[in-house]
């Protein structure tokens, strides 16, 4: 039943349409550059965000004066501290 559709005409129209295309045009160069910027920013962001988290957690552990090892009795206090076991459980 699809034979009745004018695919040859449609394909000519679609061939000429590509968002910011066609290939090798200014539009595709700009999109490529924007994508590369996002890629680099994301990688730098991962590094910085994780570094912040790890430093904060290590500092909290040092400040608490002890290191909780999973499996040991966590003592009194919340069984699932939201952040840094010892920093929220100073009574032990």
């Amino acid at each position: 039943m699809f034979d009745s559709f004018p695919f040859d005409e449609w394909s000519d129209e679609i061939d000429a349409f590509w968002t910011f295309g066609p290939g090798g045009s200014t539009g595709t160069y700009i999109m490529t550059v924007l994508g590369i910027i996002l890629m680099v920013v994301a990688i730098v962001g991962w590094v910085r965000l994780e570094d912040t988290k790890l430093r904060a957690q290590a500092e909290a552990l040092r400040a608490a004066g002890g290191l909780p090892l999973p499996g040991l009795d966590p003592g009194p206090g919340p069984s699932q501290p939201p952040f840094a076991g010892p920093s929220t459980d100073p009574g032990t």
Partner: protein
């Protein structure tokens, strides 16, 4: 050709057949990509199972974010390296006739071939198949580094490995116009060295800078063993990897459904899909057998032996007789166990899942075997005979190409204090610091255990505390530990 006309039945039969063939090719690679996702599901389960409870999500997240970083980097420059670096550096006048005319230009991210091009059904799915190979190289490294590497450091390293290093060696030795192929007859049909060996060598370079997990070695340098939190999950992960490997093998071939012989290997030499599938199956059988006997029935090494067996016969999978593949895979399964134990106990390198032994050692072993058992095979469009010398040249090119960037980049990250998590965080577990939660909240925590070099399994708290003291130059944490 205006292919749409075919739908209306107005094209001559040969053009209809040609359209049908291109659609078939498109579907073939598409479904290999779908099935190759299982490799990454498998790696995630495998590594998460091997991790201790406190590191499950940080381990799994590495595998997930591999996709987030390797995909764009491979699109923006990795694919271009494959298309244009066959001679080592982009230039005209390759040693070989242009096997794929215009391929270099088609790999640029702004190329027509990478978009919705009605005249090109193949380029995009072919790219995707290679992208999945790239994820695989990252996942190979991933497991070795677990429980102490920073997530972000791993992501940077996997970009270098997945979007630069491996694809460079693929351009050299895993393409129809690569200089190793056209000049030396280098033959690595299903990527023993190109994917596995190179990923293993890169990983070795990283491990040298990363160092072992706290508590892995005692004061005399003897290895202890950590208990993964779920061995069943690890074994299921390996089985998923094996399933995905069939798609990996299939995607390494070139399909030409309207031209005899229908299937070509990556060098455009004739082969069949059936022969490849038979060798991989026999390879698993041999690898399991070798791994079982060499490890005296250890479950982890039995399944890893299967992987090692397949990797050992991959380079020659298009030419090996099944019986030969069975024998060689058995030897590969055994080799992985011996190499893994040697790396852990003699070199004192903490490779958490044996990736260097299974992928690195057995990958290069597979390349080596082709030089012995498939010498004389006419490889590629120049029909250069494969030889032990040619295979050796390939190995000598790949080893530094892989090892040096792994070592150098991880060294730089180490100097910037961005490679490894702080020791306090490592002892507590990475999941709390990275995600602020425990991922088995409804289950009671039980004491973590560790296996001493004597084979005795003990509560790990005192052992880890002592090791922590070593790595922090004698600093003793507060009395909360063990109290």
């Amino acid at each position: 050709m205006n292919w749409i006309l075919a739908l209306g039945g107005e094209l001559p039969l040969p053009e209809k057949v040609s359209l049908d063939s291109s659609i078939l090719t498109e579907q073939f690679y598409f479904y290999t990509v779908v099935l190759m996702w299982l490799i990454h599901v498998g790696f995630m389960a495998y590594e998460a199972g091997a991790a201790r409870r406190k590191n499950i999500m940080s381990t799994a997240m590495k595998n997930i974010l591999t996709i987030a970083v390797v995909t764009p980097t491979f699109y923006y420059f990795g694919w271009y390296i494959y298309g244009c670096f066959e001679e080592g550096w982009p230039k005209d006048g390759h040693n070989s006739p242009a096997a794929l005319p215009g391929f270099c230009g088609a790999t640029a991210p702004w190329s027509d071939a990478m978009g919705p091009n009605l005249q090109d059904h193949v380029s995009a799915v072919f790219f995707l198949a290679f992208l999945l190979f790239s994820w695989t190289t990252g996942s190979i490294m991933s497991g070795a580094l677990i429980e102490r590497v920073r997530l972000s450091a791993y992501l940077i390293l996997t970009v270098i490995l997945g979007s630069v290093v491996w694809i460079m060696d693929a351009a050299w030795g895993w393409s129809s116009g690569g200089w190793l192929v056209t000049r030396y007859g280098f033959h690595d049909a299903i990527a023993s060295g190109v994917v596995h060996g190179v990923a293993g060598a890169f990983t070795l370079g990283v491990l040298l800078n990363l160092g072992p997990r706290i508590g892995k070695y005692d004061r005399e340098g003897r290895a202890r063993t950590f208990r993964g939190h779920n061995t069943h999950l690890t074994l299921m992960g390996l089985m998923l990897i094996f399933t995905g490997f069939y798609a990996f093998y299939a995607a390494c071939l070139v399909i030409q459904s309207t031209t005899f012989p229908g299937w070509l290997n990556i060098y455009l030499s004739p082969t069949t899909l059936g022969a490849i599938a038979l060798v991989i199956t026999v390879g698993f059988a041999g690898g399991f057998t070798g791994g079982w006997f060499a490890s005296k029935g250890d479950p982890f090494w039995t399944l890893s032996g299967g992987l090692a067996g397949v990797i050992s016969v991959s380079a020659g999978a298009d030419v090996y007789h099944p019986s030969l593949a069975y024998l060689l895979a058995t030897s590969g399964g055994m080799l992985a166990v011996f190499a893994g134990v040697w790396i852990e106990r003699k070199l004192r390198i903490d490779d958490a899942v044996g990736a260097v032994a299974v992928h690195g050692v057995c990958g290069f072993y597979g390349v080596f075997l082709v030089g012995i058992f498939a010498g004389g095979y006419p490889t590629g469009i120049n029909s250069v005979e494969s030889s032990f010398g040619g295979q050796l040249v390939g190995m000598l090119a790949f080893l530094p190409l892989a090892f040096l960037p792994g070592y150098a980049v991880s060294w730089l990250l180490k100097k910037a204090n961005l490679l490894r998590v702080p020791p306090e965080v490592e002892l507590e577990g990475l999941d709390i610091a990275e995600f602020q939660q425990d991922f088995f909240p409804e289950f009671e925590r039980v004491p973590e255990t560790i296996v001493l070099p004597t084979g005795e399994e003990v509560d790990s708290a005192a052992v880890l505390l002592d090791s922590f003291s070593q790595v922090t130059n004698g600093h003793r944490p507060g009395a909360r530990i063990g109290s």
